[in-house]
Structure formats: structure tokens, C-alpha cells
Amino acid sequence: MAFVITVSAMTLSAQTPAPGAAGSAQRPAAIPPGNAVNGGKLFVKYGCYECHGREGQGGLAGPRIAPNTPSVTTLIRYVRAPRGEMPPYTEKLLKSDQDLIDIHAYLSSRAAAKPQVIPPAP
């Protein structure tokens, strides 16, 4: 199963960026900004959190994907046609790429690590 999805303006609806939304500097001009608040809800709705944790911090079954999230296009391409053991999300299951853009905004806005809270090993 191989899906090659191109992010196009036609599939994307206009969204108002939420506070904390990812910056748009990395994105091609055709990709609108994501809504991080909505992305957080979608991250749960689509079950992404089950393997990657609610903040995308990673876990036993899935790697950390936040806050240094791969680019939007990389994320969309991978979710549609993952190379590893992650199950694919086809257009039937996840209709709009805008949802993934929102998820990207959510992940990119997550807090950084706080290594100072655990004393380092001597």
C-alpha cells in the first residue's frame, strides 16, 4: 500500500492559527498555518497518542515526535504511507491534510525537555 499525497491548497481549509501555533517559516507558501488547539484534539481522536504519548514525547511503541517535529510535508507523507510498523492513515480514515497540519502545529508547540529537574548521574 503506497499513498503519495501532495499537500495542495484544495484540500486545505482556512484556519485561524491558535496561540502557540507552529511558526510558518519552514513551510512552503501553499501550506496554511495549523491550529494547535484543534491539533491536540485530533492527536487524541486519531489515536496518535497511544504510541507517541499525549505530548508526542514518545514511548515504548513510538518515537518522540515533539517538539522538534519533522516538517509538515514529511509528516503527511509518512502518516499516509509509513515505512515502518506504524499503520497507515488513508484518506478514508483521515480525510483532510489540514488535520495533519493542525497536529503538526500542536506537536511543534509542545514544551521542551527539562533535564534540570532530574539530578545528573555522578
Binding site: Y49, Q57, R64, Y89, R110, A112, I118, A121
Partner: protein, 636 residues
């Protein structure tokens, strides 16, 4: 497991004789004899039988046999088919060595013995009904078998049909009691006499603790337990002689040592290596001699200090792929160490190691094989398979390496050691950092749970008796912990049967109690729901244990499996929670624990509430009581 009210011996004898008389009357010829003799239908008064057992009973001698083995506890859910034995343990034996521990499920009994052994290195005794009790115990027996853990399981049975009281004793009797677990026990016997029982008890112990270890089953016939020992019967408990563990062939060991000395990137993979603390010491010595990378994490037990510079468990994938020599030490799945199977629609395997890597294995795994259950894993194509207990064998390769080492090789391996040390330090730092992502999230992240627990126990004499967060020392949530002692990490269930964690934790905490160690378990919610009655056992027997719940309100691994199936089939994940979530209503584990005598708090949903709660719970545990914190966590 109650037994129906039992008639007194005299009453039973009366009924039996009356029935015999009735049968005689029904027989042609016999009736004529009775008529001719004008015998009354009522039996003659029984003047010989006393309602009291004179002298010692058979089960008293059985307890003598158990006591001779130094067994500290009997874990048991009481049952009538071994009532004679139970009474002998608590009265004749004084309820000491062994002490009878009240368990609420036979699966808990065996899993407690499992956890206890992994701390103490000695087996416990379990008593159960031969039928319904053994059936309850079966899952935990399988876990112990796969984990190569000994347990002495004594089951009650009434062999003589003439002695069974209907109906319950018929339900509780079986022709070949041990057969249902024979595929996953090491040995069993059904002794026909008390002398036979004593010899089989001692033999069973010996079989159980000889590597490869495993559980054994001994059937204690109810009549044998309950009847008085005939006057003048000479009985003797034989002396236990424990087999010294087998060591690997000296020539093969020298070949392994040559490979290690000559290797550019040797790796030592240790899983069930360290049977005793000595195993850790020996592995450290061998690793340091050759400056080999050591992987000791995902499976097995505590084998190697987690912060030792050569410990590369957090870099397992890298060191396995770089290795030119891999020496497995009691590895359960060597094929799976150097290969993996991808969980895709079309499953295919992937090589993790180099094709020309030299593979050596030292262990007792090849000395035991059964056909039915497939715990022996996929066939591993090793270059040198050395049959022998790895811990007992290690002094030989250590000496061989010392002989074979040359100055130029020493110089090369020292450079390798420096590289490994730097990589190990960086990996531990990464693990520490990784644990702090999602630090302020609610539900609470597993990294934060790990960090908050670690911060408050690191200066105690602690023992992580069960880790519901992950499967090994090297797993990221506990990758920054400083594991140094054999009792600080006990490995997993063995057979991956859920329900092990809670009872095994209580058993391990029982073993730790006499040493004053702080026992800590990260307790998964699904695991605890199998047989939560073990909480009562811990409270009743005053077993101190800090249980911090990893309560993600689901069988989350299974939820991910259903999600994977739904996505693969293009049906979505909307229903993945059906059959996998443990919510609506959310289980209140604090109330559950409190109802069974534990100090408990929760549900704790806010991360900043966790540290103060741990502090309060630790104060309770240090008083000698169990305490539970119900922490609502992220999935995994």
C-alpha cells in the same frame, strides 16, 4: 474452596458397613447365607475406631520433609484436599519454616513464589487443590517455567475412590493431577506412601533448583495426609544434595575466549545469567578484561551495573549491528537478538547484526526442550554453542582471556573501552533528558513517574520488584536509574502472562522484608485487576511495599494492536477501545487498596501532586506497611 461438612470417622464407617450389608443381601447365595445365620442388618458396634487420631498423622511427616529443605513460606489458598497438610503446617510445624501465607488466588500463590525466588534465590512451597487450585495456578506456573524459576507445588488429591465424600471430593479428585501442567513443569510425582513422599519432596526440590530450574509438582494424597502413621513404621527424610551447576566444556570455552580477545567489537549479551550476586561480579570481570560492550536489559534479570561504562543496553541496536563477536549468556532468544520480525501485513524478518558476526552462546537452554509450548524460540544459528550454566562457567573464560591477552591487544581494547564509556555516559544523559519531555502533562507521563520515584528512593536500599513501565533495566523510563545490586531489578514474568506483576511484587517484597529493603513496584492497572486479592495478602502479612500505579485505564498495548488492525484494514480506530479500555467507570485503585488494609491515595492526575504523595507513602512503607498511589498516567 470450602469442603462440605464431613461426617465423623465413626459415622462414615457405619454408613459404609450398612452399604456393604445391603450389597451382600442383593447378591444371590449371599442372601441365603445371611438368612440362614439370622444375622441382624445393623453392623456390629465399632469398638476399634477412635474419633481421635492417635500419635502423628501422615501430613506431620510431610511437614518434616518440607522443613528439612529450609523452605520459609507456604503460599496457599486454603483447600480441603490438603487440609491435613495445612493443619500440620500451622500446628505440628508451629507455623514457622514454613509459615502459611493466606492467598486469595492460586495464581497469586505461585507468582508470589516466583517473585520471592528472584530476590532470595530459594524456592517457596505452594499448596493447592489438585484440580480447581491447580487450574487457577496454571498461568503463573507457566510464567515460572518460562522464566526458569523453581517452585515446589504440593497439590491435594484423593486417589482412593472408596474414600471420597460425594459430591465435592469427586469434583476435586483427578486420576493424573499433574498432567495438565506437565508441559510446563520440570517434574512431578504422585507418591504412594509417606516414605515415597519424603523422597519425592527432596528429589523435587533438587530437580527444581538444578539449572535449568523450573517448578515441580508433588501430589499429596488426602488419605496419606490424614491417616495416622502406623505404629512402628520407620520413616526417614533423605538428605538433600543439590547438584553443582554444569560448566561448559573447557576446550569450547577457550575458543570463545580467543574470539573475544581477537574481536574488534565484542558484545556480551546477558539475560538469565546472574543466578546469584556472584554472577554480576563475574560478568563485570570478564567485560572489563576484554572491554566488551554489555547488553543486559530488556529480558532476564539484573546482570550488570546500569551505569558501568561498558553497559551499552541503551545502545543495544548500535552495538549489535557493529559487533563482530556476540557472546550470549543464558539468552532466551538468541535469534531474536540478532534478527527481528516486522509486524507488517506480510511478516518478514530483518537482520540486525552483521552477516559474518561470530555467535557464541553459553547457557543451559539447550539442555531442556519440550515440544508443545514454544518458549524455546526460533532456532539460532550460532557458531559455538556451549552447554553449561553461564554463571558457573564464567570463571573459565575469564582465566582463558587472561592467558590469551597480549600487550598489543590490551592497548587496542583500552581504546575501545574509552569509546564505549563515552557512549554510555551520553546514552544515560539522553535517557535522563527523554524522561523530562511532557514533564507537566496530565495524565502524567511515564517519564515523570519514573523520575519522581527515583528521586525519592535513590539514597535508600531499594529494590524495584516489578516495572510496569517497561520491560527492562535499559528501557528509557528507567534508563537513568542506578542499578547495581542483584535485587534491584528482577525482570519480567517469563511467559508474558498478565497478572504476574502484583503478586510477584508482594512475593519479592516478602523476601526483601527481612533485609529491611525498600520494595517498590510500578504497578500496571490491567495487571492488578487479574487478582487484586493479593493486596489483602500483603496487608494481612504486613509486607511493606510501595506500589505506584501506572494507571492508563486500558490494556493499552492491546488497544494499539486493535488500532493497527483497524488502520491496516482501512476501517479506522473508532472502536479500538472496545474490549481494551478500563474506563467508564474508572477504577478507583486507592479505594480498592484501602478496602484491603493498604494506605492509599489517588487518583493522582496532576504531576505536581506526585512527589508529595510519594513522600507520604514512603513514610508508611518505612513503618512496615504497604502503600499504593493511584497515578493516572499516559499510555506507555
Amino acid at each position: 474452596m470450602g469442603r462440605a461438612k464431613r461426617f465423623s470417622g465413626a459415622r462414615r464407617e457405619f454408613i459404609k458397613r450398612a452399604a456393604a450389608a445391603g450389597a451382600a443381601l442383593a447378591a444371590p447365595g449371599a442372601a441365603a447365607e445371611v438368612t440362614a445365620a439370622q444375622q441382624p442388618a445393623t453392623p456390629a458396634p465399632n469398638t476399634a475406631e477412635s474419633p481421635l487420631t492417635e500419635g502423628r498423622s501422615g501430613s506431620d511427616f510431610m511437614v518434616d520433609a518440607i522443613k528439612s529443605l529450609g523452605i520459609e513460606y507456604v503460599c496457599s489458598n486454603t483447600g480441603s484436599s490438603f487440609r491435613g497438610l495445612q493443619e500440620s503446617v500451622v500446628n505440628y510445624g508451629g507455623n514457622e519454616h514454613p509459615e502459611f501465607l493466606t492467598c486469595c488466588h492460586e495464581e497469586s500463590s505461585v507468582a508470589m513464589a516466583h517473585g520471592y525466588f528472584k530476590v532470595e534465590g530459594k524456592p517457596l512451597c505452594v499448596m493447592a487443590h489438585g484440580t480447581v487450585g491447580l487450574q487457577h495456578a496454571a498461568m503463573a506456573i507457566y510464567n515460572a517455567y518460562v522464566d526458569r524459576v523453581p517452585a515446589i507445588i504440593v497439590i491435594g488429591n484423593t486417589m482412593d475412590a472408596d474414600k471420597r465424600q460425594p459430591p465435592a471430593e469427586w469434583y476435586h479428585s483427578v486420576q493424573d493431577a499433574a498432567s495438565m501442567v506437565r508441559d510446563y513443569t520440570k517434574w512431578d510425582d504422585q507418591p504412594a506412601s509417606l516414605q515415597h513422599f519424603a523422597e519425592s519432596m527432596v528429589r523435587g526440590y533438587k530437580v527444581a533448583v538444578t539449572p535449568p530450574m523450573g517448578p515441580v509438582v508433588l501430589v499429596a494424597d488426602a488419605e496419606l495426609q490424614e491417616r495416622p502413621i502406623p505404629e512402628g513404621l520407620a520413616l526417614r527424610v533423605p538428605k538433600l544434595n543439590v547438584v553443582t551447576p554444569p560448566q561448559g566444556d573447557s576446550g569450547a570455552v577457550t575458543e570463545a575466549a580467543k574470539l573475544l580477545v581477537a574481536a574488534a567489537n565484542p558484545v556480551l549479551v546477558a539475560e538469565r545469567l546472574a543466578r546469584t550476586p556472584e554472577g554480576i561480579i563475574r560478568l563485570v570481570e570478564l567485560a572489563e578484561l576484554v572491554q566488551a560492550a554489555v547488553v543486559s536489559g530488556a529480558r532476564g534479570r539484573m546482570n550488570f551495573p546500569s551505569r558501568h561504562p561498558l553497559n551499552q543496553t541503551l545502545r543495544t541496536g548500535t552495538v549489535i549491528s557493529d559487533a563482530d563477536v556476540i557472546v550470549g549468556l543464558e539468552v532466551m532468544d538468541f535469534w531474536g537478538t540478532v534478527n527481528s520480525v516486522l509486524d507488517l501485513v506480510e511478516r518478514r524478518s530483518k537482520r540486525l547484526a552483521q552477516d559474518d558476526v561470530k555467535l557464541v552462546h553459553i547457557g543451559v537452554g539447550d539442555l531442556t526442550h519440550k515440544a508443545n509450548y514454544q518458549d524455546f524460540q526460533r532456532y539460532a544459528e550460532v557458531d559455538l554453542a556451549i552447554a553449561g550454566d553461564a554463571e558457573a562457567t564464567l570463571p573459565s573464560p575469564i582465566e582463558a582471556v587472561k592467558r590469551l591477552m597480549t600487550p598489543d591487544r590490551r592497548q587496542a581494547i583500552e581504546a575501545r573501552g574509552a569509546r564505549l564509556a563515552a557512549a554510555s555516559k551520553a546514552a544515560i544523559e539522553r535517557a535522563r533528558t527523554e524522561a523530562t519531555y511532557a514533564w507537566d502533562a496530565s495524565p502524567i507521563s511515564t517519564g515523570r513517574v519514573s523520575a519522581e520515584v527515583w528521586t525519592q528512593i535513590e539514597h535508600e536500599d531499594w529494590s524495584l520488584v516489578n516495572n510496569g513501565l517497561a520491560s527492562g533495566v535499559g528501557a528509557v523510563p528507567v534508563g537513568f536509574w542506578n542499578f547495581t545490586k542483584h535485587y534491584q531489578f528482577l525482570g519480567g514474568s517469563g511467559g508474558a502472562g498478565i497478572g504476574y506483576g502484583a503478586p510477584a511484587s508482594v512475593g519479592a517484597a516478602l523476601a526483601n522484608r527481612k533485609y529491611g529493603r525498600l520494595s517498590v513496584t510500578i504497578q500496571a492497572d490491567g495487571d492488578l485487576m487479574y487478582a487484586p486479592g493479593v493486596l489483602w495478602t500483603a496487608a494481612h502479612h504486613k509486607i511493606p511495599l510501595l506500589a505506584v500505579m501506572h494507571n492508563n485505564r486500558a490494556y493499552h498495548q492491546e488497544m494499539m494492536h486493535i488500532q493497527k488492525m483497524g488502520n491496516r484494514r482501512n476501517r479506522g480506530i473508532d472502536r479500538a477501545h472496545i474490549g481494551t479500555s478500563l474506563d467508564e467507570p474508572a477504577i478507583d485503585f486507592a479505594k480498592l487498596a484501602q478496602s484491603m488494609g493498604w494506605y492509599a491515595e489517588g487518583p493522582i492526575t496532576q504531576p505536581n501532586d506526585l512527589a508529595p504523595a510519594i513522600k507520604r507513602a514512603l513514610a508508611v512503607v518505612k513503618r512496615g506497611e504497604p502503600a499504593l498511589l493511584d497515578v493516572v498516567t499516559q499510555p506507555r
